[in-house]
């Protein structure tokens, strides 16, 4: 029997509770960002959609608990082929939003398969790394998972979603590191990739060679990040507004619905990418600390789940999910503060967006699954 009531005795309550708190903060921040106080129709619609996503995600969490997570290990190859297939089919039926091609339209909902691909790739990579765990110290054992992750990464880059492809790479590095991969290879691939990108950009700027993998606006964001002073055409607009919003919140914030940067619409993409700036403006440093501490607890506990996992596969799945959330939090919060270049990565559980919410909740479902099955059940 796959499911047993006793399984719940093992649950680490921190994880669901912190998740609920983050979602609640998110709903509050979206309400303000969507100007719900101004009788805005859009605001009500956004909140409704966000709540629907939460319900949908919760249903997934429950469904996931019905199976032992090892079933994903068993079907890893099927999951992998499915992931590649969906990512590839986007080029035929996908629609474009904000420069990214990777949207599939499902009636009134648009779904971004690359979001889900992060989770499915964690399930696949965990199996590939687990299977090759004896060889991870050697180049062959290292290259296999690398090739597995490379194909979806390239597909996502081709959809102009640089942020998500970076997440995949961070997940890969994190899982390989925890899985026992050879540190030298990790340094090599990380450093090598970084040098290649630097080389591509340098050669574009110096010799005007075509940019591979990059779009002009992505390069612009990078330039602004490196040098915010270069601001002739307003490419630093978002960053400046975000910093003003955050900073002006001071210790206690301006209060809900009272953020001028937010409500007067200086802040761009405020209910999605820059939701953290809204939190900073309206809830101040206190609010920022609360959110950061909640993420700290969540990540800490997910890593604990990894440590206590029954087997190596579960341990790797939890690690991959921790790495995914970690990078999202670092990149999203970092960019609002000018510490990271601007990408479209959402803040898990807080940013508006159905694909991201459902995916994040599925990930939490998987963590809980690994968590509650950490011991043999005693009848």
């Amino acid at each position: 029997m796959l499911w047993n009531r006793k399984l719940f005795k093992n649950i680490n309550w921190y994880i669901p509770i912190v998740t609920i708190l983050l979602i609640a903060i998110g709903i509050l921040a979206i309400s303000s960002a969507a100007e719900l106080n101004k009788e805005s129709y859009t605001g009500i619609r956004l909140i409704k959609k966000q709540l629907i996503s939460v319900v949908l995600g919760t249903i997934f969490i429950i469904i996931i608990q019905l199976f032992d997570y090892r079933i994903f290990q068993h079907y890893a190859s099927v999951i992998y082929i499915g992931t590649i297939g969906v990512l590839a089919i986007i080029f035929i039926i996908g629609t474009t939003a904000k420069g990214t091609t990777g949207w599939i339209s499902l009636g009134s909902f648009n779904f971004q398969p690359s979001e889900l691909a992060k989770v499915t790739m964690i399930l696949v990579l965990a199996e590939v790394i687990d299977r090759n765990r004896e060889e991870l110290n050697y180049l062959t054992g290292f290259l296999k998972p690398f090739i597995y992750v490379l194909i979806p990464t390239l597909l996502i880059i081709l959809q102009n979603d640089l942020g998500t492809s970076l997440v995949l790479i961070v997940i890969f590095i994190g899982m390989l590191f925890v899985g026992g991969g050879n540190i030298r290879f990790l340094v090599l691939i990380f450093g090598g990739g970084f040098s290649l990108v630097v080389l591509l950009i340098a050669s574009h700027l110096l010799f005007n060679t075509p940019l591979i993998f990059f779009k002009k606006y992505q390069l612009d964001r990078l330039i602004v990040f490196i040098n915010p002073g270069i601001d002739p055409t307003g490419i630093g607009y978002n960053l400046i507004q975000s910093k003003i919003a955050l900073g002006s919140g001071r210790i206690y914030g301006k209060g809900l619905f009272a953020g001028t940067q937010n409500q007067l619409r200086f802040l761009p993409e405020k209910h999605t990418d820059f939701i953290f700036s809204v939190i900073g403006e309206e809830f101040g440093f206190i609010g920022v600390l609360v959110v950061i501490i909640l993420y700290l607890i969540l990540l800490w506990q997910i890593i604990n789940v990894a440590r206590e996992a029954k087997d190596n596969y579960g341990r790797l799945v939890a690690t991959g999910i921790a790495a995914m959330f970690f990078f999202h939090v670092l990149e999203n919060i970092g960019m609002t503060m000018g510490l990271m270049p601007i990408t479209g990565l959402p803040l898990p559980f807080i940013s508006y967006g159905g694909s991201s919410m459902v995916t994040s909740l599925i990930a939490i479902g998987l963590v809980i699954n690994v968590n509650i099955r950490r011991k043999k059940i005693v009848f």
Binding site: F177, G234, Y237, L246, L264, L289, W300, T319, L339
Partner: protein
Amino acid sequence: MDERLKVFKIVVVLTLLILALRAGQLQLFMGDYFYELSEGNRLSERPISAPRGKVMDKKGNILVSNKEAYDLYLLPNEVSPEISVEDLLQELASLTGLDYGILQTNYDNQERSSSAVLLRRNISREMMVIIKENKDALPGVYIESSSMRDYVYGELGAHFLGYVGEISLSELREFNESGYNYRGGDIVGKIGLEMEYEQFLRGHDGIEQIEVNSRGQKVKTLSIKPPVPGNDLVLNINLELQQYFEDILLEEFYRLRDIAADDPELFPPTGAAGIVMNPNSGEILAIVSVPKFDPNKFVSGLSYEEYAALNNDPLKPLFNRPIMSQVNPGSVFKLVTGTAAVENLGVRADTVFYDRNGKYTIGEWEYRNWLSWGEGEIDFIRSFARSNNVVFYQLGHELYKLDRGDKMAWTARQYGFGSLSGIDLPGEKAGLVPDNEWKMRTQGEIWYPGDAVHLAIGQKITVTPLQLVNFISVIANGGTLYRPHLADKIIDANGEVVLDIKPEIIRKVPFKKSTFEILRKGMIAAANEPYGTASRQLRDLSVKVAGKTGTAQTGIAGANHGWFAGFAPADDPEIALVVFLEEGNSSSYTLPIAARVIEKYFSMQVDESGE
């Protein structure tokens, strides 16, 4: 291996610590600085206006463009605290001669924020110089060069191009509710293509955000949001043909009015319209409404008297006749009656009718032909060419006997009458196709045989000139009803196509190919056979024309609407056209106009291929 999970934990803790420290730096140490910026005390925004997109004809001739203008703004943040805004506006009014009341009203009406307040649009160059010279006395007053709409050819195409004006309160509300971001004082399309394609044509203003010191002087530029120019609209209109059609229609219009002024028997036409379209795609090549007006006047600001004069002019120059006039089509409608007769009564090209004495009688009622004598034996084709009412009275009566005339109304609706054609212009009218159901609903009476015979010759029903030419196109192309469209494509500032407007089929009308063959033969005979009603002016042209005239009674004897609708070349149509003279006595006056427009179109083609 737990060691590595520990390392992961350390990385997480350190990273989140860095984020928290950075937040502390921004919010605690620099918090006051950012707070002042956000409060607008030290932040000011200057608009950078973005040009609206141009409109051009198919060949790229620019019809609507922008010219330089100056807008006068007040930046409240930059007014030093010692001076009141009222005093400042008084000073400004006395220096420039602008009306203080208007300035104050404009200032009061706009939402208070850190952004600029538009005091006055399109100030003169002289005024700009005065203000610049007195800069020190006018802190916070600021001039921004902007652009003003320029209708390059004045009155040309005024009705379809439309004009722009300042956004009204209701428009502001409506646009912003549908998710577009507009502000008070923005310029929007008010009618015509300017309105239809507003969302493409409008530019998006940029903003220069500057940090100012406590005296309102600029310290530095914080950011510039660059203006985005509007997209350009490329039309299917052919400028040369449009200009020619407008010129001769206007010329004939005034000539006919002059003649009528001297002849008490004649009525002066009160308006005219003409359309040339490609019957194989619905592309509008020329669309004319007479009399005309100059849209530039609306842009520079019309006084109340000027507007009232235009609005109350009995010839209604602002009325866009091709799409808004709803009038009887007269005998042109016999082509619809003919369709219903062939499809439902089994009438053929060689069916012979008999016109004994120029009258058709139903009981005690008598319906007359336009001739007072009978034409004797007459076949179906010839009855189109002669526009013989007796034949069509009979057909109308026969159709009535089938199902109380519903078939005829249905046939007319299939051809697009009674519904909007969907042309890309606002304000189109649908006309009315009357039938039994309509008459019961509106008058509480049934549809009588007398109604049916009147409908058969194009009375009772009302159509727009556009519907009529679109209907003629269906006959010309053999059964396809297209959505007429003026715009060909929309291109951005870099010349990339944003929207390519392709021919759009409304429906394939459910009639036989052979039916259209008969209608075409009738129209060819009308324009080419010696006995045809339109042949004298059309048979000697360089191309073979097919056409049908129509004279619709208006209720005032003599003040009839004149129609011509046709296509050319008859065997392989490239254009369909309609000419409409409102209360223009007779259809015969439309024919010289049609002849000249057709000759013009085909001579242009020769010129081009000859190059």
